[in-house]
Every structure is written in structure tokens, then in C-alpha cells.
């Protein structure tokens, strides 16, 4: 497939057209209490054509990737746009363009690991846990690989070939404490294929020991007190805050639909310590968890500095929202499967690290909490957010105290950002972020730890 052929197929009257061939591949291997009980592989591929005409879109997808199917699919996408035009009767609109071309195929450069080698790796991890921690009632060691391979061409001259892999391992432990199950887990890995993430099982032992230690801490866990406290949000929580509570409100489709951030452009929305960026692909000379060089509309992907020194500067866009708002393109349009239309999606959202040390931040709190591990998170167009917290500790007189039971934190993110008084100088990227806005899609969430005031649900 090449641009020349697409242009040959492009009939007169279509303002914009894109054609995509995509394959998503996944591989799941997992042990439940020492037995390989999850052993599956999946591949899903197909084509998608999307046409923009007179202000409306027509999209058609098919699993048949033959030449004939491509022609039929393009024809039907154009027909769908025409059908919708008969109903919508919108004026002609020209979409903006910042087209780019490139090839971003992140296949590993290391020797491929066989399925047998991967299973043995996982078995070794499981054996380590079983031998060292025989008191656990349930052990789960799962690995999950997702590879998204796309070839996209657009009528405004973009062409992209990409293969973006993610490999993660999920380790969960359950123990019984006074007749009640307690559980804890962590996720390892991230961007890259298996070989890029998992070489020697012993590399993970220290992290696994920490999962167990934190599970044991939960045996003595106390309820958090309900109310608002000075807290240190570990980088994992700060990352999900950046994504869910700030990021979504500054996606232009949310803004057009009335998000609170629409009122704040150019205004102070956070402490001057805060700069928040949706990074396209590279931060500090390192590839981010979800590197996007060209988006699924063929637009050159650029970093979107959403908040700069506390001032709201910019929203994230696809072609349509940029046209509607008269803003520059950012390259945030992405789709998950071959059947999906590109939506405005974050890539790698983070608060820029500050100058403080985590220890200093904890030491500065007399009565509060150090909140570490989120479970899930949801946010609102008002920037009101809720995150489940599966791991946290009391802070008493500047020192860590007992673990707290699972709880929920909530608040209004733009209020919370104004309470930030310290930002740590390190950065952590969550390796397994998935965002579910109509379609699921991998995202990067990261950043430093922040000190702020947070509302905690408790007793």
C-alpha cells in the first residue's frame, strides 16, 4: 500500500481520506498457584477507511485486507459520509494539516525468546515466591504482550508505519489474615517486546520482596481518617492525577463539550511549581512508554505543554477539534483497533520533576499520608476526580507510620494543583496504563511525587 495508490483511489469530492491497515497482536501467559493456566495468543487485523466530506465523517472497516476489499471499503466510507451529509447538511469544512511521514518499528534487537523460555522465566518467578513465601494462599504471575502494528496513509500526504510494543508482568499475592483475604500486586515491564523487558528473573526479586512486604504491612493496616490532609502522592498517583484529572479536562473534545478547563486558558490553574506536559515520544533523551511520532491522522506529534509554571497554556487536539477551535495541531489522534476512528488521546502525561527529595517531602508533614499505589481512577469534566488507593502509609511527625487500608482519594484537580508545595526530583512511568474513552488504548502516565492537600475517604 502506498500514497500513490491511495490517491489513485481517491475520488473527487472527498475533502480528506485516510486508509489504515492494522494488526493488534497479544500473548497471555499466566501461572495460578504454580500451574500455567493462562496460555493464549491472539491476532486481529483489518483495514479501515475514513472519509471527511462536508463536515461529516464516513468510516468503514473490514477484516478482509485484499485489494478488492480496500476499494470497496474506501467506496463505502465515502458513501457513508455522503449519506450522513444528506441528514446533517453541514457546510464544507477544510481540516488543518501538518502531515508527516516516517517509520517507527520498535521490534527488539535482541535474540527472540521462545515461548518455552518465557514460560520458564515466569515459572522461576512463581517458584521464587512459593519457596520464599509459603504462607500465601494465592499466587498469580501473568505476562501480557500487546503489539500494535499500523500502516496509515492520508490524502494530505502522510504515511506512517509503526509497531508499538508493550510487555508487562503482573504479580499478585493473596494471604489470609484473621480469616479475611488480603491482596496486593505490582506490575513490571513496559514499552518494548518481551526481550527488552525481561532478561533474568532475579532482576525482579527485590521488587517482588517489596510486594510481599507491603502485603504484610496491610495486616496491620488502619483505616485512614476521612477528611483533608497534607499528603505526599507518590509518582504513580501523581501520574494518574495528571492523566485522569487534568489531562482529560484539557482534551479539546472535552473542552468543546464544556469541560471546566475551557474557562481557564491563559489563567493560573496551579502552583507556579507545576508544569504539566503530554509528551509525544521522548523525555530526557529516553523514549516514553507510548512513543507517538506521527498520530493516526498523519499529523506530526509534538509535546503539548498543557500547564506551564502554573498557567494553562494549551489543549490536546485532533484535526477536527483544532479546526473548530482555531488552534494548532498537536498530534493526539489515536485509535485502538482497525475498526476504530482516531479520538483525541493522551500519549505520555506527566508533571515535570521539581527539586525536592521524597524523604524531605515526607519529613515536612506532621499529620498526613504517603499515598503510593492507585487501583483505578476516574475524573470529571469539572476536574473532580476519584482514585482508588491500594497502598499508603500514615505520616506522623515526619515519619512513616502504619499502612492504611484500601481507600479512595478525591477532590477537584485544579484546586489540588494550587496546593502543591513540593515536587520531587525523580520520575517514574507507569508501565501498564490503559485509558478507556470509548476505546481502550495504552497510555503513559508518570512524573515525580508531589506534596499537596488531598481529601481521603475513610472512617
Amino acid at each position: 500500500m502506498d500514497s500513490l495508490r491511495l490517491k489513485e483511489l481517491l475520488p473527487a469530492g472527498s475533502d480528506y481520506l485516510e486508509l489504515k491497515v492494522q494488526q493488534n497482536r497479544s500473548r497471555q501467559l499466566g501461572f495460578l498457584n504454580g500451574t500455567l493456566n493462562f496460555n493464549s495468543k491472539s491476532a486481529s487485523s483489518g483495514i479501515m477507511a475514513r472519509s471527511f466530506q462536508n463536515g461529516v465523517w464516513g468510516l468503514t472497516s473490514s477484516p478482509d485486507i485484499s485489494d478488492d476489499s480496500m476499494r470497496r471499503t474506501i467506496k463505502r466510507a465515502i458513501a457513508n459520509a455522503q449519506t450522513l451529509h444528506q441528514r446533517a447538511r453541514k457546510a464544507e469544512v477544510m481540516l488543518p494539516s501538518n502531515s508527516a511521514s516516517g517509520e517507527y518499528l520498535f521490534f527488539t534487537k535482541k535474540n527472540a525468546a521462545s515461548t518455552q523460555e518465557r514460560i520458564e522465566y515466569l515459572r522461576e518467578i512463581d517458584n521464587y515466591i512459593k519457596d520464599k513465601y509459603p504462607d500465601l494462599s494465592t499466587r498469580i504471575v501473568n505476562s501480557s504482550v500487546l503489539e500494535m502494528e499500523k500502516h496509515i496513509i492520508t490524502s494530505d500526504g502522510a504515511e506512517i508505519r509503526s509497531m508499538t510494543p508493550r510487555t508487562i508482568m503482573y504479580v499478585m499475592m493473596v494471604c489470609l489474615h484473621e480469616g479475611t483475604p488480603l491482596q496486593h500486586y505490582d506490575v513490571f515491564g513496559g514499552f518494548g517486546q518481551w526481550e527488552d523487558n525481561f532478561a533474568d528473573p532475579s532482576d525482579l526479586y527485590e521488587k517482588i520482596d517489596l510486594v510481599y512486604q507491603q502485603l504484610m504491612d496491610k495486616k496491620e493496616a488502619v483505616f485512614a481518617h476521612a477528611g483533608t490532609f497534607d499528603c505526599v502522592l507518590d509518582s504513580r498517583l501523581a501520574g494518574i492525577l495528571s492523566h485522569e484529572a487534568i489531562g482529560h479536562t484539557t482534551e479539546a473534545d472535552f473542552v468543546i463539550n464544556g469541560s471546566i478547563a475551557g474557562e481557564y486558558l491563559g489563567q493560573e490553574v496551579a502552583s507556579p511549581l507545576v508544569t504539566l506536559i503530554d509528551v509525544a515520544h521522548t523525555w530526557d533523551d529516553q523514549l516514553c512508554p507510548v512513543p507517538v511520532f506521527i498520530d493516526d491522522e498523519g499529523v506530526l506529534a509534538e509535546d503539548c505543554v498543557v500547564i506551564e509554571d502554573g498557567i494553562l497554556r494549551r489543549y490536546m487536539h485532533n484535526k477536527e477539534s483544532a479546526q473548530l477551535m482555531g488552534h494548532a495541531l498537536t498530534g493526539n489522534a489515536r485509535a485502538y483497533t482497525y475498526t476504530d476512528e482516531p479520538l483525541i488521546r493522551m500519549r505520555n502525561t506527566m508533571i515535570v520533576p521539581g527539586k525536592s527529595k521524597l524523604d524531605e517531602m515526607i519529613a515536612s508533614i506532621e499529620d498526613g499520608y504517603y499515598l503510593i499505589e492507585p487501583s483505578n481512577g476516574q475524573a470529571d469534566s469539572t476536574s473532580e476526580f476519584m482514585f482508588g488507593v491500594t497502598l499508603g502509609y500514615e505520616i506522623k511527625n515526619g515519619k512513616l507510620g502504619k499502612a492504611i487500608k484500601e481507600t479512595t482519594i478525591s477532590g477537584v484537580a485544579f484546586d489540588l494543583l494550587k496546593t502543591i508545595t513540593m515536587i520531587s526530583d525523580d520520575i517514574y512511568w507507569s508501565c501498564a496504563g490503559m485509558c478507556g474513552k470509548k476505546q481502550m488504548i495504552p497510555v503513559g502516565m508518570g512524573g515525580p511525587a508531589i506534596k499537596c492537600r488531598v481529601n481521603i475517604g475513610g472512617k
Binding site: 495468543k41 463539550n257 487501583s375 470529571d380
Partner: protein
């Protein structure tokens, strides 16, 4: 090639290559989807998908693979991979396939959609929304979904299903000057489009509520009181019980009720059924994921546990009998009280259309943000609230049910009434 022939041929190939047991699920779907974006018609999607899932058991080892290209090369490659995968797998006596059942063909819902009507109903919704609630911003999607499934296994199971239904989803919020509400949403499937969607499943009421929620305030003080959950607000709690305590959680040993069949585990006002055979459960399949013909059943009968929701593997793994599988098409029996009368009986409490919550821990403890909710005092809705949390224990909640409404919503995959729970702790910021 004819899909039934392809299914049987592929099954035979897996057995010829040495499988002890094998199963195959071949599915294909077609969707016509109209989208309203930024309050205007914006996108028409025509989506075709297909998928073939293959599973093999050999020497009590198991592997599965899923492909969506159905040419010989892809299928043969997938089978080869299956057998390679089996070699490296572990044996587990829990692996099995469903036993022989009578060959059956199921058909449910609307298989020949009126596509114009799909668009008409969506346009009607958008017009009504803009006319009656001009402050409301919304996106909406309406589609028709058609699915064909063939399931076969080496025990002679041969099942076929044709399923057709309509889907509606809308997300909305309101803006009044520079004040704005939280968003809310509704999503459901329907067997037909006989009624405007605004009249279905309290959609109109939810949108009317959102226009009031541009001016909210926190509650004055923390209190313990009654919460009336609208059905959408209660679903997550129900799925917590289903998943963690009477479903897979039994296998994962996170269940609080691991050996409680026939025992009273929850409030006697709760009767929970699965009704995949009901035409009302229009998007629910008659073929279970583990290859059985799905059946209607009462899971919790006035608080008494009648069935665990375990698929064949989980049942074998736990040593329990598989009875109805992992369950789909959940129905909570309604009560007799009109939902507005439930409010009248509340001294101090909350009307909760939606919650935003972290996953409860295995003990059932949770805390959640009350979204789109109202403070109730002396039997009247007082005002819409913001930044208010609720905490409690899911299992205790299901033992503190005071009342269930006569009205229900039907999402096509679940049917439930409003549910009133007592003694939940409500806290302000």
C-alpha cells in the same frame, strides 16, 4: 467457504493432529453506528469483524489461540502454534470442555435492522435534548449490532446463534454561564426502537437532573444515613459481589462465601437471577463462553445462595459442580414502592445516580465519590451535592437493603430497580 463447514473441518484437523479434546468458536459481526459529536450528526461507521477462537486439550494440557483471518494459511498456522504451545504447558486436571448437548440454533432480537430508524431516533434524541435542555452538551451514539456465532467441540456440541440488537450511549453535562455540572452518561441495548430513547431507562430524568447540577454544594456535616441508588449507581457494587464473592473470587480465594451454598449470605430482600434466555436481555448470548447452552436461574433467592457463578474450569479447579456457568443477563427482582415514595421516607440521606469508586478490597471495604447526587432531608430532595464521599462495606450494604423500587431499568444485559440502603457513612471534603 461455508462457515459451518469451516468450523467442522478445523475441529477435525485439531483432533487429527492428536488433540484429546478441542473446541472452536467462530463469530462474525456487523455494526451500523451513527454518532452525534458536539451535539451534531458527525460520523457513520460501518464495521465488520470476525474471529475464530481455537482451544485444545492434550494430556490435560491446554492452550488457546484467536485469529481473525480465516484463510487456510492463517488457520493452519494457528493450529500449529496451538500444538507447539501445548508442549510447553502444564497439565491440570481442571481442564475440560462442555459435554454433548442437543444441536441447537438460537435467534434473538432484530436481525434485519431499520437503519434509517437508527438515525431517526438519534436525531430525535439530539433535537429533543437541544430543545428541552439547551444548556446541555452531549455526544451520543446509536447503532445496530448483528452477531453470528458458531460453537462446536469434540464432544459433539454444535451450537449456533444469531443475535441482533440496538445500542444507545450518551454522555452529557450542563453549562450555565461559567458554572458547569459533572458529566453523567447512560448506555443500554434494546431489542427494538419502538420508543424515543429519551423515554427509556430514565434518560430524560438523568438529563433533567444534569441541568440542576451546575449549582452544587457540599453537605453541611458528615452523617450516617440512607442512600437510594439509581440502578446505574448500584451496578458496580453488584458486579463486585458477583465477581469477587460468588464467581471467580471463589477460585482466587478472595471470596467471603467460599462454602455457603444453600446459606443465607445477603439481605432477604435480594433475589438475583440470570436470564440470558429472556428476550429482555437482548444483548446476552445463549451460548456461554465455556460452550454450554445458557440457562435462566435464580442465583440468590431472598438472600440465600443457590448457585456459584463458576465456569467449567473454575468449577473443576475449586472442586465444585458447574451449574449455570459464570452467568450473564443479571436481573434483580424489583419491589413495589414507587421510587419517588422511597425518597419521601428518608429522614436524612442521598439520592445517588452514579458513583465513582476504587475497587473494594477483598474484605468488601470501599469508599466512593457520590456523583450527580442529591442530599435528601425530611423526605425531600434538598440540593445537588459536590465533593461528597460515601464509605462502607459492600457485603454489609447487601445486608442493609431497606427497599427496592417498583420501577426498573433494562440495559439489555441487566435489569434492576432503585435500591435503598441504610447506615452508610457520608463525608464531606
Amino acid at each position: 467457504m461455508d462457515k459451518r463447514k469451516l468450523t467442522q473441518q478445523t475441529l477435525k484437523r485439531m483432533m487429527d493432529l492428536g488433540a484429546d479434546k478441542a473446541s472452536i468458536r467462530l463469530s462474525a459481526s456487523d455494526t451500523q453506528e451513527f454518532n452525534v459529536v458536539y451535539r451534531e450528526l458527525n460520523l457513520l461507521r460501518s464495521i465488520s469483524t470476525q474471529s475464530m477462537g481455537l482451544s485444545v486439550i492434550k494430556d490435560q494440557k491446554s492452550a488457546s489461540v484467536n485469529v481473525n483471518q480465516l484463510d487456510d494459511q492463517t488457520i493452519n498456522g494457528a493450529i500449529d502454534e496451538l500444538f507447539q504451545s501445548i508442549e510447553t504447558a502444564d497439565a491440570d486436571p481442571a481442564y475440560d470442555i462442555s459435554p454433548h448437548q442437543p444441536p441447537s440454533v438460537f435467534e434473538k432480537g432484530t436481525l434485519k435492522p431499520d437503519v434509517d430508524l437508527v438515525c431517526d431516533r438519534l436525531v430525535e434524541y439530539a433535537r429533543q435534548c437541544k430543545k428541552d435542555y439547551p444548556s446541555v452538551q452531549f455526544d451520543a451514539t446509536m447503532s445496530h449490532h448483528k452477531q453470528h456465532v458458531l460453537f462446536a467441540n469434540s464432544n459433539g456440541v454444535d451450537l449456533e446463534e444469531n443475535l441482533g440488537y440496538y445500542d444507545f450511549m450518551s454522555m452529557f453535562s450542563a453549562k450555565d454561564g461559567n458554572k458547569m455540572s459533572s458529566f453523567n452518561f447512560t448506555t443500554f441495548s434494546a431489542a427494538d426502537l419502538d420508543k424515543p430513547v429519551m423515554d427509556m431507562n430514565f434518560t430524560g430524568e438523568l438529563i433533567r437532573q444534569i441541568t440542576e447540577q451546575t449549582s452544587t454544594r457540599p453537605i453541611a456535616e458528615n452523617f450516617t444515613g440512607d442512600v437510594i441508588f439509581m440502578p446505574f449507581g448500584f451496578m458496580e457494587f453488584l458486579f463486585e459481589i458477583v465477581g469477587n464473592h460468588i464467581g471467580n473470587g471463589v477460585m482466587m480465594k478472595t471470596s467471603r462465601f467460599p462454602d455457603h451454598l444453600g446459606q443465607k449470605i445477603l439481605d432477604d430482600k435480594l433475589t438475583l437471577r440470570i436470564m440470558p434466555c429472556s428476550p429482555e436481555m437482548c444483548s446476552e448470548s445463549r451460548i456461554t463462553t465455556d460452550g454450554y447452552i445458557a440457562e435462566d436461574a435464580t442465583i440468590i433467592d431472598h438472600g440465600i445462595l443457590r448457585h456459584y457463578l463458576l465456569n467449567l474450569f473454575a468449577a473443576n479447579k475449586t472442586g465444585k459442580q458447574r451449574t449455570v456457568g459464570s452467568g450473564n443477563g443479571f436481573v434483580i427482582d424489583p419491589g413495589t414502592t414507587p421510587w419517588r415514595d422511597m425518597i419521601a421516607s428518608v429522614k436524612r440521606g442521598i439520592l445517588c445516580p452514579r458513583v465513582s469508586q476504587g475497587s473494594p478490597n477483598p474484605n468488601g471495604d470501599f469508599s466512593a465519590v457520590l456523583k450527580n447526587s442529591y442530599y435528601i432531608e425530611d423526605g425531600r430532595i434538598a440540593y445537588p451535592i459536590s465533593e461528597t464521599m460515601m464509605s462502607g462495606n459492600v457485603i454489609e450494604m447487601f445486608n442493609q437493603m431497606i427497599d427496592l423500587s417498583a420501577e426498573t431499568i433494562n440495559t439489555g444485559w441487566m435489569k434492576a430497580p432503585f435500591i435503598k440502603i441504610e447506615d452508610l457513612f457520608i463525608s464531606k471534603k
